[in-house]
């Protein structure tokens, strides 16, 4: 089934409604390219698992079309979709050994036993499970269990890999390791993968592209850098990056943006409403002393300082005008002290206060592109 078959995935106006409540997904349009590593990310309950489980065939599609390759799979049973899934809680068969767990799918499909042994042993070798083949899941650590689950998916050589928060039950260190292995496996095999997580760092590091969901609505799809550098709305701006982008209400004076912390002269504001939101990333702020003179300043009392070693996160402001700055961690700051920071006016994002959508100015969007080295 592999090789020539194209395993793109298309959601065309897909609606999902459980029982007779409001629809969980009111209408999803999403194209996942062949061989791509697509990460679905969003807060808990936004419909990520539902989306994934519809691809697997574990949930029905209420309306719209779901295609894998160019085949409509709305009514295709899970076993005929040629997809493999890795679950958050591993879902290993506890009464079977690691070998039997990985062999189960192949045995059900009546592959010759010698071939099964070869595939399982190869997968076990890749995943470092060769010594554990005779163990039962109960005798394995969480990380080992999840590797068995990965192996079980791999041996079937499916068209599509699905992952539903596979690393959530692992401790931080193991999570980083497993994240690396999953990334490596994808680069090696190039199988179309859909990966659900609520962790934006996982999303940034793993995804070829990321789809951000909120309340069943698709907020934006793009590469990690597109989402980081060119968010379409306040939600995406606040979701990507850690700490997330600072969002502050401002008044639009036509020739400048103003609130209690800052006054930013700016052109081309006439097209926008009176109430706006500005976004500025914590890493775009720098101490005023080190900034060019024409950069806008902002002053606010220091509320709290988180020291991270090489850098520190400074929380400033009060009430609804709060922000975080990521500064070099060399200065001693005391809470209450007033701090003046500066930022590049080009690093400012504008959003409509009501619709919370991005207001793009005529100037090119501020996408941090890798520098082109021209001779």
């Amino acid at each position: 089934m592999t090789g020539i078959a194209v395993a793109s995935i298309d959601f065309k106006g897909v609606v999902k409604r459980y029982a007779d409540s409001a629809p969980t997904l009111p209408g999803l349009d999403l194209h996942i390219r062949d061989g791509e590593f697509m990460v679905l990310v969003g807060p808990s309950g936004c419909g990520k698992s539902t989306t994934l489980r519809m691809i697997a065939g574990l949930e029905s599609v209420t309306a719209g079309e779901l295609l894998i390759g160019d085949r409509k799979v709305n009514d295709v049973p899970p076993k005929d979709r040629d997809v493999a899934m890795v679950f958050q809680n591993y879902a290993l068969y506890p009464h079977m050994t690691v070998f039997e767990n990985m062999a189960f799918g192949l045995r059900v499909r009546k592959q010759p036993e010698s071939q099964i042994r070869t595939s399982v042993e190869a997968a076990a070798e890749t995943l470092g499970l060769a010594d554990l083949l005779e163990r039962k899941p109960g005798q394995l650590s969480g990380g080992q269990c999840q590797r068995v689950a990965l192996g079980r998916a791999m041996v079937r050589d499916p068209q599509v890999f699905l992952f539903d928060e596979p690393l959530s039950n692992l401790d931080a260190e193991l999570r980083v390791q497993m994240r690396a292995s999953i990334g490596r496996l994808h680069r090696e095999f190039g199988t179309t993968s859909v990966y659900v997580t609520h962790d934006q760092i996982e999303a940034m590091t793993l995804g070829s592209r990321i789809a951000i969901l909120n309340g069943g609505e698709l907020m934006q799809v793009g590469t990690p850098m597109e989402l980081y550098g060119d968010p379409d709305n306040v939600f995406v701006a606040g979701f990507m990056g850690s700490p997330p982008m600072n969002i502050l209400p401002v008044r639009n004076l036509g020739h400048a943006l103003e609130n209690r912390l800052m006054h930013v002269p700016r052109e081309g504001l006439d097209r926008f409403g009176a109430e706006l939101l500005v976004g500025v990333r914590p890493e775009a702020l720098c101490p005023a002393a080190e900034a060019p003179a024409h950069w806008p300043r902002l002053s606010a009392p220091v509320e709290m300082v988180e020291t991270l070693g090489a850098e520190m996160l400074v929380h400033l402001g009060q009430d609804d005008e709060r922000l975080v700055a990521r500064l070099p961690g060399l200065r001693a700051l005391t809470p209450g002290e007033s701090l003046t920071l500066a930022f590049d006016p080009a690093a400012l994002y504008l959003f409509d206060a009501r619709s919370r959508q991005r207001l793009r100015e005529v100037r090119a969007a501020v996408v941090p592109q890798p520098e082109l080295i021209t001779p």
């Binding site: 574990l58 076993k79 899934m85 591993y90 879902a91 506890p94 059900v108 499909r109 899941p137």
Partner: protein, 317 residues
């Protein structure tokens, strides 16, 4: 070498002093436990339960047919009265067992009971496993009502079913005086409990295991046989044991359905040792002990399944 060991011993004992102190501490702890009122209460309760059983054992091995307590103890001294309370036969004898096994059709009855209880267990388990799986995993019209009805049926005393069962099984189906009739009745009456018991266990097995198998291409039947049933072994063992004992111990239905003495189950047979015409309490006691043996053996055999925890490690979180 042995020499040095012998010599080394007292030294070692001294070196072990902290250990011995610890051991003494443990002993003192144990002593405190033994002397606590909780322990006393448990010992007392155990004695209350075991005492009558000891009399049965004593009677069975006495070779006699009457209880010793029946003797008049009023004129005896205190210690003789006390001694008469101790359940020990005056002389040990296997005569009662021999007689029950040879002079009475006891073996025949045992076999009947085995067939009936075995059949009940098999049929009961097949029906209840499949039903419980459906109740646990599928949503279908009447599901909740069905579960409710099962519960309600358990609220009435079993005797209430006597007449309807007699009419249905003996008069309509013509299954009186047959193993099959009893097996069906027992299997069906045990069904509600078994279904609830198994459904409760199936509910604890994570869905994801089945979904994973479904994605791997397994059919519902494959999943049921190769994944669910093996995982549910502890629950199946308990339910099986329950079915078996229901059928093994039941008296009233068996005595009404079975007219033919050669088809009696053990409880019905035992009853005839002690009736209007005979009071062979010794045979009764010996028979009772032999009836208990298979159940005890079954318990021992199933013990390791009764300790659950097989599914631990399947999922975390």
């Amino acid at each position: 070498m042995s020499n040095s060991q012998v010599q080394g011993r007292p030294v070692a004992a001294e070196l072990d002093l902290p250990y011995r102190e610890r051991a003494q501490g443990v002993l003192r702890g144990a002593l405190r436990d033994v002397l606590s009122w909780r322990f006393a209460l448990l010992v007392f309760a155990s004695l209350v339960v075991i005492y009558p059983l000891l009399w049965v054992v004593s009677l069975a091995f006495s070779g006699q047919q009457s209880l010793q307590l029946a003797q008049d103890t009023r004129d005896m001294g205190f210690w003789a009265q006390m001694a008469a309370l101790v359940p020990l036969p005056e002389q040990w004898s296997l005569q009662n067992f021999r007689a029950v096994l040879t002079e009475q059709p006891f073996i025949r009855w045992l076999l009947n009971s085995l067939v009936v209880a075995g059949g009940t267990t098999v049929i009961g388990l097949v029906l209840s496993c499949t039903a419980a799986y459906a109740f646990s995993r599928f949503r279908f019209p009447g599901r909740n009502r069905g579960l409710m009805l099962f519960l309600v049926s358990q609220m009435f005393p079993a005797v209430l079913m006597l007449i309807p069962l007699y009419v249905i099984v003996v008069q309509w189906l013509g299954l009186g005086n047959s193993w099959l009739g009893l097996i069906l009745v027992y299997a069906i009456t045990a069904l509600p409990f078994c279904v609830w018991m198994l459904k409760g266990y199936f509910d604890t097995l994570p869905y994801e295991i089945e979904e994973s198998a479904l994605l791997e291409g397994a059919s519902r039947m494959t999943i049921f046989y190769r994944i669910i049933l093996p995982l549910a072994r502890p629950a199946i063992a308990v339910t099986g044991l329950f079915s078996f004992m229901t059928a093994w111990n039941e008296f009233i239905l068996a005595s009404i359905f079975m007219d033919d003495e050669s088809l009696y189950t053990v409880p019905v047979g035992l009853r005839f040792f002690v009736s209007d015409y005979s009071s062979e309490w010794g045979y009764f006691a010996a028979g009772s002990i032999m009836v208990s043996v298979p159940v005890i053996l079954l318990f021992l055999a199933l013990q390791r399944f009764l300790v659950s925890g097989l599914s631990s490690g399947a999922v975390k979180g």
